[in-house]
């Protein structure tokens, strides 16, 4: 170190500053380019083991939101998103009612009362090899 001349020290500092600046600048650039304003919407939901939903059950899956139906035909699912403006509907007797604007649907998702015009969407249900039930909203 004692042999390091003032000129070399200055050069070393300059190089170090440039290297750090460059590294930080590159990091910031990558972060900028990699930044996602629109996080991808989740379209597949693992809702656990199939054995947790026995035959004859109708289970509310709040996370989706959806109603998972397990009957003699196997699994099916109804979206609980109102087809009018997208509010989450709630069970009402044997059917469903939208708390926002009052649309009513029967147990199969058919419209009983507007303002909704379209029936509830049927979602795709998949049971994986690990016996986990996956709901697809796309």
């Amino acid at each position: 170190m004692s042999n390091l001349s003032r000129r070399d020290l200055f050069k070393l500092i300059t190089t170090a500053l440039l290297a750090i600046s460059g590294a930080l600048g590159l990091g910031a650039l990558f972060r900028f380019l990699d930044y996602q304003t629109d996080p991808p919407l989740k379209t597949a939901f693992d809702i656990g083991l199939a054995e947790d939903y026995p035959a004859g059950s109708r289970s509310l899956i709040a996370e989706v939101p959806a109603l998972l139906i397990h009957d003699q035909n196997g699994f099916s699912a109804l979206s609980l998103v109102c087809t009018h403006l997208g509010c989450t509907i709630a069970q009402n007797g044997t059917g469903f009612a939208c708390p926002c604007h009052g649309s009513r649907y029967d147990a199969d998702g058919n419209v009983l009362r507007g303002p909704a015009q379209k029936p509830l969407r049927h979602l795709r249900v998949e049971v994986g090899s690990d016996q986990h039930v996956i709901l697809h909203t796309d």
Partner: protein, 414 residues
């Protein structure tokens, strides 16, 4: 040269560190992705304390930007608010189409009963055509009482009633030579839903939809609250319909000193010299007056009497006729939607309700088995029972059943 490079690199490093420091001071954004738009918004980063505006507009479904505009991803308040629509009032009629419109929202069709914006824009409440026409006629500027001017120009492509007019021009008081008309313009044109609100935060939400649907609560000035409701108390109507003290000698408007709360309700009501029956001051205005009367029927009318049709006889009938009623048999009847928006009654198929002359269900009423009637206050939930005129000792001519005639016997002392 090397010194310059060293200095440049030091400055670059300093700039990067400063940028990192500034970025680290930014609040961590709270991301909301509304169901309706599917696009992220950062508004809740600062506004998470705001209550839901109404159960019909849940934030999880609507978010903020679809109604308010603004920069969804900005974390700087000035930038975020820079493109908001209507400032504190996105329902101001100058921006209402962008804020509240849409075929599934409030600019749909008459058949779907969601053409609210079109109706309001042509309504007397927005055009102020009645007052403008009367003033012009009174001071000789017009030869009759047919409306030709409104606060803003407006046209109606499809006139459906006998009193509807096709269009109004914007009233320009600069062309009026009569000083009384000019005074009217100075003192009165700031009222009504389509007017430029007076300066001051207390007036921010006294135009557009918010003027009625964002009532003040308690000690808050009217409109200073994040709320939309169809349960509109009379106090909100009274905010504008108080007739103040318009001094006809000075031709000047003097705001009432007893606002917002006087000693009792009948004293607090608008038109200090008017007579009232008990139900006119015990009920809220919206308990009787319909959405069509308040928001218009889609036609441009020359004055409020052409759109007002609720009378005492609507609910009480006449000495020779019971009020009109109907049984609710259609699940899509507008009555159910109105009752759902303001659930003060459990309305069910098969119930019989009073209907207006235009056939609108008064969904907050019902016919009771003993032949009497029940009305539930839309803003209070208070239950009132009342009898029909028929079978009573009333000897009033069956034709003369407007409230003015009923006041002769039924006005309360003020």
């Amino acid at each position: 040269m090397k010194r310059l490079i060293a200095l440049g690199s030091a400055l670059l490093l300093l700039a990067i560190v400063a940028a990192w420091w500034a970025n680290s001071r930014q609040p961590k954004p709270i991301v909301l992705i509304p169901t309706l738009t599917g696009k992220p918004e950062y508004c809740l980063t600062c506004h998470s304390d705001l209550p839901e505006i109404s159960k019909s507009h849940p934030i999880k479904t609507f978010g903020c930007v679809i109604c308010h505009g603004g920069e969804a991803l900005a974390l700087n308040a000035d930038l975020a608010h820079s493109t908001m629509r209507g400032g504190a009032n996105p329902s101001d009629l100058s921006v209402v189409q962008e804020s509240c419109g849409g075929s599934s929202c409030h600019s749909g069709t008459a058949e779907q009963n969601n053409n609210h914006i079109q109706r309001v824009l042509t309504s007397v409440q927005a055009t102020y055509a009645g007052a403008i026409t009367n003033i012009l006629y009174t001071y000789g500027a017009e030869g009759d009482l047919t409306a030709r001017f409104g606060i803003r120009a407006v046209a109606d492509a499809q006139v459906t009633t006998s009193t509807g007019v096709p269009a109004l021009q914007a009233f320009d008081p600069a062309g009026a030579s009569n000083p009384a008309i000019q005074k009217f313009a100075v003192n009165c044109l700031f009222c009504h839903l389509n007017a430029q609100p007076l300066p001051g935060p207390q007036f921010d939400r006294l135009s557009g939809c918010a003027a009625c649907h964002t009532p003040g609560i308690g000690s808050l000035p009217p409109g200073q609250i994040h709320k939309l409701t169809t349960a509109i108390p009379y106090t909100q109507c009274n905010t504008c319909h108080n007739r103040g003290n318009y001094d006809l000698r000075a031709m000047a408007f003097v705001p009432r000193s007893d606002q917002p709360q006087a000693a009792d309700r009948v004293q607090n009501y608008y038109q200090p010299i008017a007579q009232f029956t008990k139900c006119e001051y015990e009920l809220d205005c919206i308990d009787c007056h319909t959405r069509t009367e308040a928001m218009g029927d889609g036609d441009i009318h020359s004055n409020e009497t052409q759109i007002q049709y609720i009378q005492c006889r609507t609910c009480h009938g006449t000495p020779t006729q019971l009020p009109s009623t109907k049984m609710l048999t259609d699940p899509n009847d507008i009555a159910f939607r109105q009752a759902q928006l303001n659930p003060v009654v459990d309305l069910e198929l098969g119930q019989t309700v009073i209907v207006t002359d235009k056939g609108e269900p008064m969904w907050n009423t019902r016919v009771l088995p003993d032949g009497t009637y029940q009305l539930v206050g839309k803003a209070t939930g208070q239950v009132f029972t009342f009898r029909p005129v028929m079978g009573s000792g009333c000897t009033q001519n069956g034709i003369d059943q407007s409230s003015a005639y009923c006041h002769t016997c039924h006005a309360v002392q003020r």
